[in-house]
Each structure stands twice: as structure tokens, then as C-alpha cells.
């Protein structure tokens, strides 16, 4: 399926939506209105929870803040609902930004629970504000005017609701295909990965959180003027859970899934209300929720990832068109060969009483491959983490390209020009090879959220695509850039990680055991690649366990043992050094 046909399909869908009020009954339009209103929240949750991995139970509270803002402006104070929209969006996003700043640093369950906590706190607050009508709420909320037309009937507000839904969908997909969107999609890979790519994970999380709140605020505004009456109850924990259910059922990783989930949940509830009395006779109200929950559980047992991935299996794969010739991204000047690029001075790191790295010093000069080797437990990994900022340096100094980098964050160090790979490959298996490499280029690009969502970043994106394809070609993976990274064998995954690191245009490439787990043939290719990179004047620091792999490859070797530097020399001299042999044999014995 090509992009043109995809656009055609989307156009047909929009036309179907536009024609719906003429084809279906007025109550079906009412249902569609509610679906649209719920879908906005679910789209936000698809971004926040499905893609960003942040489980939020509190979206209903955001909807409530927006609904009450607009109701207060229009019904209580008598101003235009459009002014209500302004207040709704500004207030909701401010509250979200404030809550996000406080809570988004929380981990795992703490974060989910905090969303329940502030969600409920806000909900209980609504009923205690006299100007907002306490628990009896605000009635007779005026309809939204457009010019002289008042959107009071179901069919009239329908177009406004669905226009907003469609626009938000398009913007969400644009965003996901942009620089910030890729960063968002990388979040679930864990903080270490994201930060190593020069991405400030917290800021990305905060952005996703505020976007989800923004969508919720649109939903709340529409809800207030659609139902013309609001009270606290639709903004409580149950609705927060239901929004999450919608996003889950739809396929929590895709915005369209939010729309489908909202539709499925709403139609299912309505269908049960219609058909259950025919089966059970008599009081069936109590049974409705039982039947609904049971069907919901059954559905998730059959399709745990939701509708979209379930259906996508039966759909033709999208073909991608490679971009043409475009302007290249700017490139950093590599330092002159021999320049001491990285200087490690007397670095120490303790864990409690244990000295993991004990006063180690060495230098990496521009244009060379330096091997850092040592037996298990020698402190190599700790050293590696100190260099990349994953761990804090206890004592001593690390200087990179003339700047001290001790105490700086991982993402800052990454941006300074140190790109790394991982011993246990960290890729985003459900993103394409191209997107994985594009992640590496994140610090070189500048498009923010808005430019991404509005597709104002296309020129830059085209350059980035070209650059990513060039890096894929450089490591020999240009066959199918649109394949999912998870489908690659381990050897190629390691190459892909190097391509991703190269896309950052680094001054120093730091590789963590790149040969681990590779077969002989793969090791040879890896070595060839690294030598070719050095010949292009790239500086490489290799932390490796595999002596044989290192010996034929590097210019110099630093050997560590029991946290201290044992010696430093050319490979041949190291091979002959009895201390090194003892260290390795000793470790075996």
C-alpha cells in the first residue's frame, strides 16, 4: 500500500464521517458525539501510556478541570464558550505541567499511584467549590456559537467534535513521525538508553503528559457544551479507569486505536443496554456491568494488544518511499589525529566499602582505537559507566575535548560527542531500522513538538533520513531500512547500534563488548567495520573481554584488574606482559 492510497483511504473515512448525520438516526449521532469526546482522551492516553509507558488514571480529572473551566466562564459568568476554551486549555495544561514537574520523576508503581492520588484529589475538590455548584454541578451550559450559529443540536456539534478528533489524529501521527515523536517512542526502552541518545527523558515525558492533558482539555470543553450539564461524578476514578480501558482495547500504541477503543466501549455498553433485556427479562441494570466487564476481559484475553495490532496483521504492509537527494546535516570537525580527546585522571569510584575503580588514569587520542580490557570484575563496566555519565565519578577528573564532564548528565555527555553502544543490545525492536538510526541523530536535529506536529520539519527530516540511510549503508544494513529492528539477528543488531551511534556524528565512539555473543564470521565483520571507521579518522574506545578480538584490532590497550590499571601498551607488548597473563589466568583459576 502506498502513501497515496493510504491518504485516499483516510479521505474516504473522513467523508464517511461527514455523511454520517444524514445516514444514521439522531441517537446514533449522539453516540458518535460521545465517542468523539471520549476518543480525544483515549488518543492522549495512547500517546502517554501506550507509547510513552506512563500509566495515568487521572485523565478524567483533566477532563473535569477543562469542563468546569468552560462551564464557569460560559454558564456562571456569562462569557463566550470560546473564552471558556482558552481558560480550559490554559488551566488544564498548567495543572498538568505542574503535576508533571512534581511526579514524573517517580518510578513505576509510584508514578501510577500518584496519578490516582492527584486524580482523586482534584475530583473531590470539584464537589467542594460553591461557585462550581458543589455536588449539584452547573446546569444550562450554553451551546458553542460559530458566528451566529449556535451548536445546540446533536448533529451540529457533531461536526465540531469530529473535526477536532480528525485534526488531533493527524497531528498525533505527524508528531510520532517527527524527532520528538521518535524520542517518545524510545521512552519505553528505559532511561539509560534514552539518555545515552542525548535525549532528556524527563522533558519528553513532561511533553507527552502535557499533550495528553491538552487533548483531555479539548474533550472536557466539548463535553461541557455537549451535555449542557456537569457535576463531579463523570470526572472520578471510574471514568479515569474507563479511559484507560478504551486506550487498551483500541491498541494502546496507536492514536487511531484510541478512537476505535472509545467506539468499541461506547457501542458495547449501548448494545448491552439494548439487547440484554431481551435475553434476561426484568431488572437487567445490575447485569449490564457484569456482561460488559466479562466481554471486556474476554476481548483482552484474545487480543491483549488491542484492536489495531490485531487487525494490522491482516492488512497489507505499507511500502515506504525513500527520499531523493537533499541537503546534508551539518557535521562536526573531527579533532586532529593524536589530540588527547579523552583524558581520565586519577578516577575513583566506590560502592559502599568496595572500590570498583581505584585511581585509574589513561588517555584516548584522536584517530586511534583504544582497547580497555580486563578479566571479569576488573571494573571495566564501572569505568564505562563513569565515562558515559551513567554513574557519578567519586574522585578524579575526566576531560573530554577540553571540557570536564564529571558530574554531567548522560544526555549532556552524549550531546558533547560521546556515542555509545550496549553490551546487552538496547534497540527499539518495534521501530524500523531507519527509525532506530534516526534516534541517534536526535541531538543534531532541532524540530520541536509543534514543528513536528504541523510537519514544518520536513526539510530537516529529509536530511535526517538521508543521513540515517547513509549510516545504515556504512555498517552494511541498507538492504531493508523499513524492517523492524527486532527481526534482526544479534550480529546485525550490534551493527545497527553502531549505525545509531554514528548518526549522532560523535567525536568518540564507546563500544561496550561489541563482540559478545557474536559468531566468528560476525566478529570478523565487526572488526573490519571498526578499522574502516578508524581509517575515516573516528576515535574509538573499546571495552572488551574477548582478547583475541581486541588484539588484531586496536592501537593501544589499557588493562584493568581489581579496579586498578594494571598496564597500558601496544597489543604485542600486552600479550607478552606476564602480569596480564597472570591476571587472566588467575581469574580463571
Amino acid at each position: 500500500m502506498t502513501l497515496a492510497r493510504l491518504r485516499l483511504a483516510a479521505l474516504v473515512a473522513v467523508l464517511c464521517l461527514a455523511a454520517a448525520p444524514f445516514l444514521v438516526s439522531s441517537f446514533s449521532v449522539t453516540l458518535l458525539n460521545y465517542i468523539g469526546v471520549y476518543a480525544l482522551v483515549a488518543i492522549g492516553l495512547a500517546l502517554l501510556t501506550g507509547i510513552g509507558g506512563i500509566i495515568s488514571f487521572g485523565q478524567a480529572a483533566f477532563v473535569g478541570i477543562a469542563a468546569y473551566s468552560s462551564a464557569w466562564v460560559s454558564a456562571v459568568s456569562g462569557y463566550s464558550p470560546w473564552l471558556g476554551l482558552c481558560l480550559a486549555v490554559v488551566l488544564t495544561c498548567s495543572v498538568a505541567a505542574f503535576l508533571g514537574l512534581i511526579t514524573l520523576r517517580l518510578r513505576g508503581h509510584f508514578l501510577s499511584l500518584s496519578t490516582i492520588a492527584w486524580g482523586l484529589a482534584i475530583y473531590f475538590l470539584f464537589g467542594n467549590i460553591p461557585t462550581l455548584g458543589n455536588f449539584n454541578g452547573i446546569a444550562a451550559i450554553p451551546p458553542i456559537p460559530i458566528g451566529s450559529l449556535k451548536l445546540s443540536g446533536s448533529a451540529q456539534i457533531y461536526y465540531l467534535i469530529w473535526a477536532i478528533v480528525v485534526v488531533c489524529l493527524v497531528l498525533s501521527y505527524n508528531l510520532l513521525n517527527s524527532r520528538m515523536g521518535r524520542a517518545l517512542r524510545a521512552l519505553r526502552g528505559g532511561k539509560i538508553l534514552v539518555e545515552s541518545l542525548g535525549i532528556n527523558a524527563f522533558r519528553v515525558k513532561l511533553a507527552a503528559f502535557v499533550i495528553a492533558a491538552f487533548l483531555a482539555s479539548l474533550s472536557g470543553w466539548l463535553y461541557a457544551h455537549l451535555s449542557t450539564f456537569i457535576s463531579p461524578s463523570p470526572f472520578g476514578a471510574e471514568m479515569g479507569i474507563e479511559y484507560l480501558m478504551m486506550a487498551m482495547v483500541g491498541g494502546s500504541g496507536s492514536p487511531i486505536g484510541g478512537v476505535l477503543g472509545a467506539a468499541l466501549v461506547t457501542l458495547l455498553k449501548n448494545g448491552i443496554q439494548d439487547y440484554l433485556p431481551l435475553i434476561t427479562k426484568g431488572a437487567s441494570g445490575e447485569l449490564e456491568i457484569v456482561v460488559f466487564s466479562t466481554l471486556f476481559i474476554l476481548f483482552l484475553q484474545r487480543a491483549p494488544r488491542g484492536i489495531v495490532p490485531f487487525v494490522a496483521r491482516f492488512m497489507p504492509q505499507l511500502r515506504h518511499v525513500a527520499p531523493g537527494t537533499i541537503a546534508k546535516l551539518p557535521v562536526r570537525a573531527q579533532p586532529a589525529p593524536g589530540y588527547p580527546l579523552l583524558i581520565v585522571q586519577d578516577v575513583e569510584r566506590r560502592f559502599g566499602g568496595l572500590i570498583a575503580v581505584n585511581h585509574v588514569s589513561f588517555e584516548v587520542n584522536a584517530g586511534e582505537i583504544l582497547g580497555l580490557i580486563g578479566p571479569n570484575g576488573a571494573g571495566k563496566s564501572t569505568m564505562f559507566n563513569l565515562l558515559t555519565g551513567a554513574l557519578r565519578v567519586g574522585q578524579g577528573q575526566i576531560t573530554f575535548a577540553g571540557q570536564g564532564i564529571c558530574g554531567q548528565s548522560q544526555s549532556h555527555i552524549a550531546r558533547a560527542g560521546i556515542a555509545r553502544t550496549f553490551q546487552h543490545v538496547k534497540l527499539r525492536p518495534r521501530m524500523t531500522l531507519l527509525d532506530n538510526v534516526l534516534l541517534g541523530a536526535h541531538p543534531r536535529l532541532h524540530a520541536g513538538l509543534l514543528r513536528g506536529a504541523l510537519r514544518l520539519d520536513r526539510v530537516e527530516e529529509a536530511s535526517a533520513h538521508a543521513e540515517a540511510l547513509r549510516q545504515l549503508a556504512r555498517v552494511g544494513l541498507s538492504d531493508d531500512p523499513f524492517m523492524l529492528a527486532g527481526n534482526l539477528p544479534l550480529g546485525k543488531q550490534r551493527l545497527l547500534e553502531i549505525a545509531r551511534a554514528l548518526a549522532a556524528d560523535p567525536l568518540l565512539l564507546v563500544l561496550d563488548e561489541p563482540a559478545a555473543g557474536l559468531r566468528r564470521q560476525e566478529k570478523l565483520r565487526m572488526a573490519e567495520l571498526l578499522i574502516a571507521l578508524r581509517d575515516e579518522h573516528l576515535t574509538i574506545l573499546l571495552v572488551e573481554h574477548d582478547m583475541e578480538f581486541v588484539m588484531g584490532l586496536v592501537d593501544r590497550i589499557v588493562v584493568m584488574d581489581f579496579g586498578s590499571k594494571l598496564c597500558e601498551d601496544a597489543p604485542a607488548a600486552i600479550r607478552a606482559d606476564p602480569r596480564v597473563q597472570e591476571a587472566y589466568l588467575g581469574s580463571i583459576a
Binding site: 473515512a13 446514533s28 449539584n136 501521527y173 449501548n270 439494548d274 445490575e286 489495531v308
Partner: protein, 398 residues
């Protein structure tokens, strides 16, 4: 989980939705064809689940009794379509639209919580269908009153009567504790109004939720103000909680409350702690103790009989009687409206609305109803009696 990129086609969803909607429309059409022919169709929304269900279920039983009492007027059959609003105003609003737009009902009756009732009233007004509200909603000075009347005694009336009783009993310092919900707000507002008239002081405004396990904190605060009496703005079983918690703290004052406390489970759970409480309620609760010439005696006994027939058990609460009175209002108005227009037409809806607002001195189980334009409520002082809990039985205490 990564998204499918670029955007997956949106088309199937739209088509499916349209197809689903069309299909449901066809099915609805087929389903609704029969009752829409000539009968009077009544849309009844109540809370069969959610936190309003302890009121909503009695409402449903009362409606069953009403249908058993009389299901035909002026040669037209009355049919009820009952929907659950799960105690959620959004669902109530959707239910109301569904009943009017899909089922073409002639009148709406409902619901169990005030917010849900207001939400329904908004729809009734928009779509111009008369509505008989079963919950005491706050009187809004807006258009809904044109199409909505409320059956129950307004909270202000219930509280006023009980406040008068407090004054008669020389209770000057009264503590208030109620639910933190719409009902708690209404009762408190009524109490403040009574305070403004003089004669008693409301010392506290303590709140608790239906799901609270203990109100010891609130009880301590109440005790600190040394009240002579306590006014409870709760409902059902959980209305007993304040007294259960006050008893161990040594509270010996009197207890008062509005009709929402009248319920068998309140007595069962409250036990000795609630003995002696005085409650303002509709006369139906003590129908058999009323004097023979009381307006509510005969109709209340008829209601009880119908209730027993429909539900296989005697009534034990005051809520179900509201449904029954709503039905009486409908029957009276429908008889008039049928002479003007055929059911199922906008003309009939308007005629029914007119007829409802012309109802004069209609005796029900809970009060005597007189509706006039510009007023949602149709009952007066005759709709409230004071009953006292004596030996676990509600006793008429004039």
C-alpha cells in the same frame, strides 16, 4: 508497543462505525415499531447500579407497583421502557436521548440522584418532552422547569418541617452532618435557611461519604460544639453511621433527619443507636397509623397492595412511593392530554406538559400535588409528617 508508521488507514474504522450505527438503527427501528403505534410510552431512567442504587432499586420496584396498580388510561395502554443510568449523569443524559430519539417516549420519569435528574431535565427541555423528576433537584431559575416537575418534597421543605419540630422540642444548638454529595448539599442548604428564620443555630457542617468506614473525626468535632441535637443529611443504611459513632463518645442529644433515612436497613444496621430519631417524611410511611380521613391513607394502602403484588414483598421504604406518585401524576395528565392529541406526537407531548401543569389537588401517597408554571415542586406542608423510631418501628408523631 510502537505504533504502525506511517498512519494506518483510518477508513475501516469509519466504515465499520457507520455500518454499526446503521445496523443498530435498523434493529432499533424494528424493536421500537410496536410500542410506538398508539400506546403511551413511558421512559423510566433509574440507578440500578452505582452508588445511587440503594435509592434507584426501590424506585424501580415502586414503578413496577405503579404499573401493577394501573396500566391503562382512557383506553390507551401504558408501557414502560426502563434504563439504568449507573448513577452517572452522562449515562442518564444519554439514556434520556435514547428514550426520546429511539423509543419515541411520551414522557420521561427519573432518576435516583439529583445530578442525573438534572442531566435528564436538560435533554427533556431540549427535545421538548415532559419529565417527571423523582429526585429533589435544586430549583434552577432556567428553562427546564417548563418541561419538568419534581415529585418529592423539596429538601428545603423536609428540613423546614424537621427544623420546626426541633424548635418545638426546644433544640437550639444543632450539629449538622451529611453526605458529601448533592443530597448532603441540599439538606445543609435547607438547614441554613431554617437557621436564618431564627430559633436555632447550626453549629457544624461535617461531611462523610457513603463508603467511609468511620466518622469518628467528625463525631469528635460535633461533640466539641456540645450540640443539643444532631441533624443527619445522609441516606439509607449509611445514614446511621454518625449515630453509631457518636454513641460511644457519650452523645445523648436528640437526632433528626429528612425522609432519606426511612429505610428498613437503616433500622437494622443502626439498632439501638438510632432509636428515637425523628424524621420528616411523606405520610405513606405511616399510612396505617393515619386518621381515616387523611388524604394519603386510602391511596397509600392501595400502593402497598400493588407493591406487594408486583414485587412479592411488602414495602419498607419511602422511595418507591415517589415512583408511584409520579405515575399518578402521569395518569391524571395523560387523561386530559389524550383528548387533545394522539400519543407519540409533539402535540401530545405539549398537551401532556400543559395537563401536568394544570394538576390541582391530586392526592398521592406522599403529598397533595398542585403544579403551576414557574414552579418545579407541587407539594406543600401537607406532604410532610414527622415520624419517630420507636422500638424499631416508624411511629406517626403529629
Amino acid at each position: 508497543m510502537a505504533p504502525l508508521l506511517p498512519p494506518p488507514p483510518t477508513c475501516p474504522s469509519g466504515r465499520t462505525r457507520a455500518a454499526l450505527a446503521t445496523a443498530s438503527l435498523l434493529v432499533f427501528g424494528a424493536l421500537c415499531a410496536a410500542p410506538a403505534s398508539a400506546d403511551i410510552t413511558v421512559g423510566f431512567v433509574t440507578s440500578l447500579s452505582g452508588n445511587g442504587s440503594s435509592l434507584g432499586i426501590p424506585y424501580a420496584r415502586g414503578m413496577a407497583a405503579a404499573l401493577a396498580y394501573k396500566s391503562e388510561i382512557g383506553g390507551e395502554k401504558l408501557t414502560i421502557i426502563q434504563l439504568d443510568d449507573t448513577s452517572d449523569p452522562s449515562a442518564a443524559s444519554r439514556d434520556a436521548r435514547k428514550l426520546i430519539e429511539e423509543n419515541h417516549v411520551d414522557v420521561l420519569i427519573g432518576s435516583a440522584t439529583a445530578p442525573a435528574t438534572i442531566a435528564m431535565a436538560q435533554v427533556a427541555t431540549e427535545l421538548k418532552v415532559p419529565m417527571i423528576a423523582l429526585s429533589p433537584v435544586p430549583i434552577a431559575g432556567t428553562t427546564p422547569e417548563q418541561w419538568m416537575v419534581a415529585v418529592p418534597q423539596p429538601a428545603s421543605l423536609l428540613v423546614k418541617v424537621v427544623a420546626d419540630r426541633m424548635k418545638r422540642d426546644h433544640m437550639e444548638k444543632v450539629a449538622y452532618i451529611g453526605f458529601s454529595d448533592a443530597w448532603g448539599d441540599l439538606v445543609y442548604a435547607g438547614a441554613k435557611a431554617a437557621e436564618a428564620e431564627g430559633g436555632l443555630t447550626i453549629l457544624t457542617n461535617e461531611r462523610y461519604t457513603r463508603s467511609d468506614s468511620s466518622v469518628t473525626g467528625q463525631a469528635l468535632k460535633i461533640m466539641a460544639t456540645h450540640p443539643q441535637a444532631i441533624l443527619i443529611g445522609g441516606s439509607g443504611t449509611q445514614g446511621a453511621l454518625p449515630l453509631l459513632n457518636l454513641a460511644p463518645l457519650g452523645f445523648h442529644g436528640s437526632a433528626y433527619g429528612p425522609a432519606s433515612l426511612v429505610n428498613q436497613d437503616f433500622i437494622r444496621v443502626g439498632g439501638k443507636a438510632v432509636e428515637g430519631i425523628q424524621v420528616s417524611t411523606g405520610p405513606v410511611i405511616v399510612a396505617e397509623q393515619l386518621p381515616d380521613d387523611h388524604y394519603a391513607r386510602k391511596i397509600s394502602l392501595a400502593f402497598r397492595e400493588a407493591y406487594l403484588k408486583a414485587n412479592g414483598a411488602p414495602t419498607s421504604d419511602g422511595f418507591s412511593a415517589y415512583s408511584f406518585d409520579g405515575w399518578l401524576i402521569l395518569l391524571t395528565a395523560a387523561k386530559q392530554a389524550l383528548q387533545v392529541a394522539k400519543p407519540g406526537t409533539p402535540a401530545f407531548h405539549a398537551a401532556l406538559d400543559d395537563a401536568i401543569f394544570k394538576i390541582h389537588e391530586l392526592a398521592g401517597t406522599q403529598g397533595v400535588y398542585n403544579f403551576t408554571r414557574g414552579q418545579n415542586y407541587g407539594v406543600d406542608d401537607r406532604a410532610v409528617v414527622i415520624v419517630r423510631l420507636v422500638d424499631g418501628k416508624w411511629t406517626y408523631a403529629p
